[in-house]
Amino acid sequence: MNLKELYQEIILEHGKNPRNLGKTDDFNKDAKGNNPLCGDNVHVYLKLNGQKIVEDISFEGSGCAISMASASIMTDLIKGKNENEAKEIVEDFLQMIKENPELKSEYLQDDEKTKLMCLSGVKQYPMRVKCATLSWHTLVSAFENKKEEVKTEN
């Protein structure tokens, strides 16, 4: 997929109409992330139940279309997964954005994989990879309930 198609797809899908935007009422874990280069920032809220299943997830933030669409797609996919599954999906996504040609996780449906693969267009733009991965790193940090902000610069 070339970049124009990527933009068309994700903007129409998620940029105009982001899923899970806002602050979950009774979240019990959260973390913030920031990409100083672009000024993207994101705050991920999680509600984990006793079985460590993500009952609810949402995000607040501002930034470029890629970072916002990525956060929107991520929250959609992660809802209902347990912590271990979620972390594996994150790892799978990060590997795909870096080098893997495809997604491997057994926890992702085919249509979910297709959606995520939309973001693979940023691969050729190393500067923009950080935009796409910010919310995912922040999600991991939220599981740990880390207080310090995730910075994508390192």
Binding site: I11, C38, A65, R128
Partner: protein
């Protein structure tokens, strides 16, 4: 050399960049290189190479002469009084660090104040910030007005009895404002204040005359002047370069070294420690000749036409908001597009072969003031044409289509 067909002197424009003809609008960041400059580097390395200043063999002497020739060319180009007022550095960043460092060592005292502006590039802020920590120096900021300018009146307002140095940009790399540096220098000198000018954006585009301007220091970035990377120039009044202490220590900058005492070399060696960017310095002579051949007046006229044309185009484009409208403006068009992040703009423009910059352009203070994290910036050089600006505008329109903007 005619500016109308100058593009063909730059081999990069013969290349296809991701299948597109290159529309290069990022010269404020770094300019492209004419063939003569690239060839000169190659020629020096393949036919004439030696280190300078150290050996007495033929190649060393010849290389030293070439190196010193560039110093003389720079002196003439900026009309400095003395050849020894030209110091080579690794960039404008190092030039500004050098000035802040030596003034910090031996000129400034605790509680002294430095006046900079909200327009400054981080290179003309962070080196002074170091002195906040080490010397308890205070930094004041002259404010940018709504047009993206810093006026003489504003500078005057911010001068206090403790102001010892005014460090300002010649031409803003974001708003394009050309500051009244001559008037500011006169004012500063009437109050015994030193003037340091970040000339990164001035030197490639404006006529320079150090003797007339009379500033104390002027920093130049050679890679923005159609020259090699890794090279900058610091102009400093001889009086200061003689009086102030060295910056870095090492080979080349010393006179005599004993176990219990060291004496330093004369200018210009005093400020050029270690092996310098020899090939770059030698090739930079070609950049200066190249600009002289075209003529700075012609360059200024050409670029002023381009800015006016680009400004009009973008002003007519709904959704585009230009940053700053200074009365005296250089070739920088920074803008935002309603609802579209500058990085998205730059990425989409890139698909059309239009190279611009997006981000804070190393000017976070300025962007904070405007309450935006980043902006998009198109900047011109001698090789640009009105056609390039039309393509910029067309590509912005493509971007608007993707984002459903009118």
């Amino acid at each position: 050399m005619k500016i109308e067909n100058i593009k063909k002197e730059f081999p990069i424009f013969d290349e296809k960049i991701q299948n597109n003809d290159l529309v290069y609008l990022d010269s404020a960041n770094s300019s492209q290189k004419p063939k003569v400059v690239a060839d000169r580097i190659n020629e020096f390395y393949t036919k004439q190479f030696s280190n300078v200043g150290r050996s007495v063999h033929y190649l060393a002497v010849a290389a030293t002469n070439l190196y010193e020739n560039t110093r003389s060319s720079v002196q003439k180009y900026i009309n400095a009084k003395d050849k020894n007022e030209i110091v080579f550095t690794k960039g404008a960043t190092e030039a500004l660090n050098l000035v802040a460092n030596i003034l910090g060592q031996n000129y400034l005292n605790e509680g002294d104040e430095i006046l900079i502006t909200e327009l400054e590039h981080h290179s003309n802020y962070v080196p002074w910030h170091f002195l906040r920590k080490s010397k308890n120096i205070k930094i004041n900021f002259a404010e940018m007005n709504e047009d993206g300018e810093v006026t003489l009146e504003e500078i005057e307002k911010k001068i206090t009895p403790k102001t010892k140095v005014i460090a300002i940009t010649h031409l803003s790399n974001v708003t394009g404002a050309i500051l009244p540096i001559k008037e500011i220098t006169d004012l500063a000198h009437s109050k015994g204040i030193l003037v340091v000018i970040d000339g990164c954006q001035g030197a490639p585009h404006l006529k320079l005359n150090m003797q007339d301007l009379d500033c104390d220091f002027y920093a130049i970035s050679c890679h923005k002047m159609y020259g090699p990377t890794g090279l900058g120039v610091l102009y400093g009044k001889k009086k200061w370069l003689e009086e102030l202490p060295p910056y870095q220590g090492g080979g080349g900058m010393i006179s005599e070294v004993k176990k219990d005492s060291i004496s330093y070399g004369e200018l210009p060696n005093k400020y050029e420690a270690g092996t310098m960017a020899t090939a770059q310095v030698i090739a930079f002579d070609e950049s200066i000749k190249f600009m002289e051949n075209i003529g700075i007046e012609n360059i200024m006229k050409h670029e002023a036409d381009l800015v006016e044309y680009g400004q009009e185009l973008l002003q007519k484009n709904n959704s585009v908001k230009l940053i700053g409208s200074p009365k005296n403006k250089g070739g920088v068009l920074s803008f935002t597009l309603k609802g579209v992040h500058p990085h998205d703009i730059a990425t989409i423009l890139d698909e059309d072969g239009v190279a611009i910059r997006a981000g804070h352009h190393c000017c976070q203070i300025l962007h904070d003031k405007l309450n935006i994290p980043a902006s998009a910036r198109a900047s011109v050089g001698i090789y640009n044409t009105k056609d390039d600006l039309d393509k910029l505008n067309d590509s912005i329109n493509n971007c608007k289509k993707i984002f459903n903007l009118k």
